[in-house]
């Protein structure tokens, strides 16, 4: 192991910023990060061992204790639940003889939950040693179990097990206009970079990650900052449950995304770029690197790009299982080899970003749009959409509908048109913008997809009338508690309190006052949290409580007070010790009145 780590770090000339890459390699090789490895990494990279441990314990894909040689993770997103996640979990436990959350005694396989893998249109999905396994079925699980038990290396597994589909079902101005590699750069240099930024301004393009900051303004701010170096970052940490459009864009339109990043670099004066790719999209890593190489061959990256004096290159950095890294300042921390904890703002990344350098962070779809605008002009783009939301939005539609997949729609489209188009029937409600967004009921379909009405980073999850709203809210609330980085008190403690309080109500232990307490807690977490995660973590509860208060009330017991714990369950240890299970060894919780 000593040689493995020595070679890994010295051959790649890894710096402290590459800690995640080092840990990913060690985890892949040994299926955990041994203590001796921590010591060696800290010494070789000249960082405190506490930083190494901190990073290991922060990211879900790193472990201090051994996992199986085959690390099997099943996606725990609500969309996977709807497609049979529970049944598949039970089946896996049976055929692989391993319980969820455990390592099999022979150490060959471990099995656990993981947050949404971005395969919501082809779930239930899993990851095997980081690689995506879409659309699990019992026969597929049998096949996987055989391959594992025969200890067959992953590269010998049948390719069809890993086949991820694009499912593009509706195209618009972006997806219809594929560009030749270099087309946007040639157009921009010909027009002039300042003029191209002006076109971008005219286009009215706003960030596609969900927050909607005007892209031209962000680039302008960064360009105006006095600095020797600037950085371009593409946020491909698409972690919002129900979102998978960046996966498709990177799979089929990567040239255009990289071109947008290169254009940004030319305009703001950056030489270094990063694509921060979520760990769940490991299956795209080699393909994307090949495209980067192709672009270097084509003189679209590297030195003297298309014969100019402009130099720029892009590096792909993989995440390791942390939703919070989709927050731009947490993403930058992660790029620097640290825990993904959101920074205090100001200063903002456009002035102090990666290693303190002015940095533009944009979403995958945003960069793709900039490249298209550079070719077709701002007016062309602005002709589509609404006054405040120009252009189109690429939606990831999943859940209860006949045709889940990617839909490019013009901003301003009504929910009703989308519902009709994707073949959704008997709809109960729709989660728009993922758990951090809004749950709308079936009486609100006249509303529109737009920054001024229903903003979304792309997630669009449809629920029909067979679904239980409290199950959905419970899944989302557990998700946020799991993904809270723990930096600030209101989110660290608050998201776990929300989880416990909601569990209490959902499991029928709530009494009068518990819904009021839940709502108060929601407001506190929403208004006092440090970053967007905490500020939106209560949205699933708040948006459904507003629409379906009777659902919550119906869960409550008709008593004025219910203890926070289960009296009878608390006696279980005593019963086992006394070897008793008679009626007198049980207590009723509270006399029902």
């Amino acid at each position: 192991m000593q040689k493995f780590i020595q070679d890994l770090i010295t051959i790649n000339r890894y710096q402290a910023t590459d800690l995640l890459a080092v840990l990913r390699a060690v985890q892949t090789q040994y299926h955990y990060i041994p203590k001796a490895a921590i010591e060696q990494i800290a010494t070789l990279m000249a960082i405190p061992r506490t930083q190494v441990i901190g990073v290991i314990e922060f990211y879900s894909f790193f472990h201090l204790t051994p996992r199986g040689q085959y690390e099997l993770l099943i996606s725990d997103s609500i969309t996977d639940h709807m497609l049979g996640k529970h049944e598949m979990t039970a089946y896996i436990e049976e055929v692989l003889q391993v319980k969820l959350g455990e390592v099999r005694t022979d150490g060959l396989v471990s099995f656990d939950n993981t947050s949404c893998t971005g395969l919501c249109d082809q779930g239930p999905a899993a990851l095997i040693n980081g690689y995506a396994l879409p659309h699990l079925t019992p026969p597929k699980i049998d096949q996987i179990a055989d391959l594992i038990n025969q200890k067959r290396p992953l590269d010998e597994w049948p390719q069809e097990l890993f086949e991820v589909k694009d499912n593009v079902l509706k195209t618009g101005i972006l997806l219809d206009h594929s560009l030749q590699p270099g087309e946007a750069l040639h157009s921009s240099f010909k027009r002039g970079l300042k003029e191209t930024l002006k076109e971008l301004d005219i286009s009215g393009l706003r960030g596609r990650g969900g927050a909607g900051f005007k892209t031209a303004t962000k680039w302008q701010f960064c360009a105006e900052e006095q600095a020797a170096e600037r950085i371009v970052v593409c946020n491909a940490d698409e972690g919002e449950p129900g979102t998978f459009k960046d996966r498709v864009l990177l799979n089929s339109h990567a040239h255009q995304v990289f071109e947008g990043m290169t254009l940004c670099a030319a305009i703001i004066g950056a030489q270094q770029g990063f694509l921060y790719l979520r760990g769940e999209y490991l299956h795209l890593y080699d393909k994307l690197n090949a495209i980067l190489n192709e672009r270097r061959q084509l003189s679209l990256l590297g030195s003297n790009i298309i014969g100019s004096d402009f130099n720029f290159d892009i590096e792909i950095c993989l995440g390791a299982g942390a939703y919070i890294c989709g927050e731009e300042s947490a993403l930058i921390e992660s790029l620097e080899g640290k825990m993904g904890v959101p920074r205090n703002r100001p200063p903002y990344p456009v002035t102090h970003g990666y290693l303190g350098k002015p940095t533009v962070v944009n979403n995958v779809e945003t960069y793709m749009a900039t490249a298209t605008i550079a070719v077709n002009g701002g007016e062309w783009f602005a002709a589509v959409g609404t006054e405040k939301s120009k252009g189109t939005k690429i939606l990831s539609i999943c859940g209860d509908c006949d045709k889940p997949g990617i839909y490019e729609v013009a901003f301003g489209i009504t929910i009703q048109s989308i519902v009709d188009e994707c073949g959704a029937h008997d709809v109960l409600g729709i989660q728009i913008g993922g758990p951090s967004g809004t749950f709308i009921s079936n009486t609100e379909f006249a509303r529109k997809i737009a920054f001024e009405d229903l903003a979304t980073g792309g997630s669009f999850i449809i629920f029909n009338n067979t679904r239980n709203i409290l199950d959905i809210v419970n899944n989302f609330t557990h998700f946020f508690a799991h993904e809270s980085c723990g930096f600030c008190t209101p989110c660290r403690v608050g998201t776990s309190l929300l989880k416990n309080q909601l569990d209490k109500i959902v499991n029928g232990h709530g009494s009068a006052g518990d819904v009021v307490a839940l709502e108060e807690l929601c407001q506190l977490v929403k208004t006092q949290s440090h970053c967007g995660l905490g500020q939106t973590a209560a949205n699933p509860i708040l948006t459904t409580l507003e629409r379906y208060p009777e659902l919550y009330q119906a869960q409550l017991k008709k008593i004025s007070y219910e203890p926070g714990f289960d009296l009878d369950a608390a006696l279980e240890t005593a019963r086992r010790l006394a070897n008793r299970d008679d009626a007198a060894a049980h207590l009723t919780q509270v006399e029902e009145g």
Partner: protein, 239 residues
């Protein structure tokens, strides 16, 4: 003409580069806080110092003072939220004031008194947390850690060491120490380190000094934290 902001209607002067917290404490205005200490880089994590700046919630310890800001600090709704955040810190760890050596000298307890916290409000987590009594002179009781990172910052910024760090995610966050064994005795920490004396709660204690000051004669037994904080931190600031 000095630049000014207003806090609760009062005009407060500030210098460029100062945070709202610094300007406030220089002017004798107390903003409740636990993770802030004037000698160290602000952290902004406890969220007790949240104030409304032109209507928007901001952490006073990290947010720069800027001409024309109207800051609301001592307001009923903000103090109610601060009380709840303090209650969160109490239920997250295991804080049993009557049996804690830090009682009366504890900032968490003093802030709770100041905010008129009368109960825990939230259900307790009863988290299992360890004690590290390995060091001859210093004790770590993880039950009382609130993740303010003051020991982390003091060790790094003042002592020139890296004894402490925060590890883990979400509710599983915990304090770790920089030694191969994971024990404090194997670090280069000494009782004279600033980091040994900075903990606002009873998570880091100096051994062999317990109860030398009797209960009833301790810092917050006769004074409120707003007064103590302003006196000590203004002095610190002038150094």
């Amino acid at each position: 003409m000095a630049k000014t902001i207003t806090i609760d209607g009062l005009s407060i002067p500030f210098e460029d580069g100062q945070t709202i917290m610094q300007a406030a404490s220089d002017a004798g205005v107390y903003i409740p806080h636990l993770c802030h200490h004037p000698e160290f880089t602000p952290h902004g994590s406890c969220k007790l110092c949240t104030v409304k700046v032109n209507g928007r919630n901001c952490s006073a310890c990290t947010f720069p003072a800027m001409e024309g800001q109207e800051v609301i600090n001592n307001a009923k709704d903000l103090n109610a939220d601060r009380q709840k955040i303090t209650q969160m810190l109490f239920v997250e760890g295991n804080h049993f004031c009557p049996s804690c050596e830090k009682t009366g000298n504890c900032q968490l307890q003093a802030v709770a008194y100041h905010l008129n916290m009368l109960d825990d409000h939230f259900p307790l987590f009863y988290q299992h947390r360890e004690l590290d009594a390995s060091h001859t002179d210093i004790l770590i009781d993880h039950n009382r850690c609130i993740f303010c990172t003051l020991c982390v910052r003091a060790s790094h910024e003042h002592d020139g060491k890296e004894v402490f760090a925060i590890s883990g995610r979400g509710i599983n966050k915990h304090l770790i120490v920089n030694s191969e064994s994971g024990l404090l005795k194997d670090t280069n920490m000494t009782a004279s380190d600033k980091a040994a004396h900075i903990c606002p709660t009873g998570a880091i204690l100096i051994k062999h000094t317990a109860y030398q000051v009797p209960i009833g004669e301790r810092i917050y037994d006769h004074q409120q934290i707003d007064q103590v904080s302003l006196n000590s931190e203004q002095v610190d600031h002038d150094k």
